[in-house]
Amino acid sequence: MCGIAGLIHRGNTSNVGFELQGMLQALKHRGEDSTGYALYGKTDGENFIMRFKVGENVAEGSSSVKEDVSVYDEKKKIVDSYLSELGAKVIKEDRILPYSLRYEIQYDKDLMEFSQKIESVEGVEILSMGKSLEVIKDLGNAEVVCNRYNLDKVVGTHAIGHARMATESGVDIKSAHPFWGYPFSDVSVVHNGQLTNYWNNRRVLENKGMRFMSECDSELIAVYLAEKMRNGATLEEGMKESLVGLDGVFTYFVATKDSLGMAKDTMAAKPLVLYESDDLVAMGSEEIAIRSILPQEIETYDPFDGEVKVWQI
């Protein structure tokens, strides 16, 4: 059991970091091994924001091997040298935690080549790459992660998030959601459920050059959609194809720079409650997630089996 939540302000911006924190915290009973945020904020539209990690959080409960901070320092140095080789110019650098970094980068070449080079450093993973998107994920519940990364002040148009109870893979950042839709900028995915044809799909996609960073079945959705879009499908077309291509039970959200979508499997085995108005769409695994930002009486509903919906900002 995991919890997912998402919201999109249409034609407006809001304090999405704070709002999503409230929604995910309301779902913490569904899992607090890790929590992740995909926040779509305001940027200048020119530079990429790269969120990446050079190691794991090795706090109590983590399934990662403890490493010295000097190991992270060494990996950061290699990443910096690779960025220079790739012709990427670092405009701003924030080392939020010893293992977690945020770079603002000027770069105008192929993102796949870029990502492959950076992630060739063992233990380094790009959590997100985008001009609007920032993925922040770590161990602990929504409040803990929000406070650790100062997310409650983030202003933006839309966001998706995930409260995780680890069942299929480790308690670590690499298995935490949201997953970046590598190699597409500004694409992220969160998922509640289990995928039963993970390995079959993974082998096929790896043979097509797609990359997996974890053994978490949910990552497949991001990679699956990215591969569809790479071959020319729109986001909505890719999502509709996923209802057939992905086997198992799932409800997932996917977000791009200017849109937010949801898909529910044909068995409708995983929950989702949806609120939709002209100004705001909010959704979550349980109604209490929506109530955290809309305490007044509102109209909500459960999308039906096999339903796919996409909203624009």
Binding site: M267, I288, F304, D305
Partner: protein
Amino acid sequence: MANLKTSEKKSKAQSMGLHTEVLTGKTQQKFFNPDEAENFYYFGTYDVDFNKRTEIDVKNMDCREANKKIDELMKDGYGTIVIKNPQGKHSLGVGILNKLNLIFEGSLGYFGCGSMDGPIVRINGRVGWSCAENMMAGKVVIEKNAGSCFGAAIRGGDLICKGSVGARTGIDQKGGTIIIGGDAGAFTGFMMQRGRIIILGDVGINLGDSMYDGTIFVGGKIGSFGSDAVEAELTDSDQDWLKRKLKVAEIGENFDVSKMTKVVAGKKLWNYDALEPTEKKGAI
């Protein structure tokens, strides 16, 4: 105490197609002998006055506190309780084994009004998954939409949703009636064993999948039939019952029931055991 030996009741129910069993069996006689009524005691039952009304605001209570408060109010004789600001909280109004008018001014989360026996509940909002699960008797009316597993395993009573419901409505249903004013999702009536489901709108795929028994009436389109679910003839008796039920439920009173599709179990899938008659389950 239900008088199970009344032949008139039995034949009327049978003529309406409610069941086909013949009431026999030692277990039946032993459990429901009226002479033993004094030996039956229901924990948590109180004498309440429906005219004695009160309100509680549960905004800052967790579900355990709220349910305890309802119990205390019933103990004090309140027969009409209004719950303010439920705000999607889970498991509110569960385990009430008493006559009571319970009104929720807002929406409930998961498992609202589960395992109850007797109250009349009105929810002026929406409900999450598994509303009224295992309900024995009483009436629950939801003014807006409902989540999945609506009325899971209910054994009796009337469960009414004026809006639309999610998937697996009436899963494992063992009695009672579920009425949906809008549409219903996939696997409606999945593995149902007794009782009736009425859907005025459309219904999703795999309707009545693996159902043992019971009846489903659909007013709109059917996505697909599930395994062993088959269409049956809609009789005059069915139509009379539907009209009466919809009127009592204050929903679809002018609905043209003659156009409804009746769905029952083909009984090819299961080696059905008839040792547990409907009446036994209904009276428990």
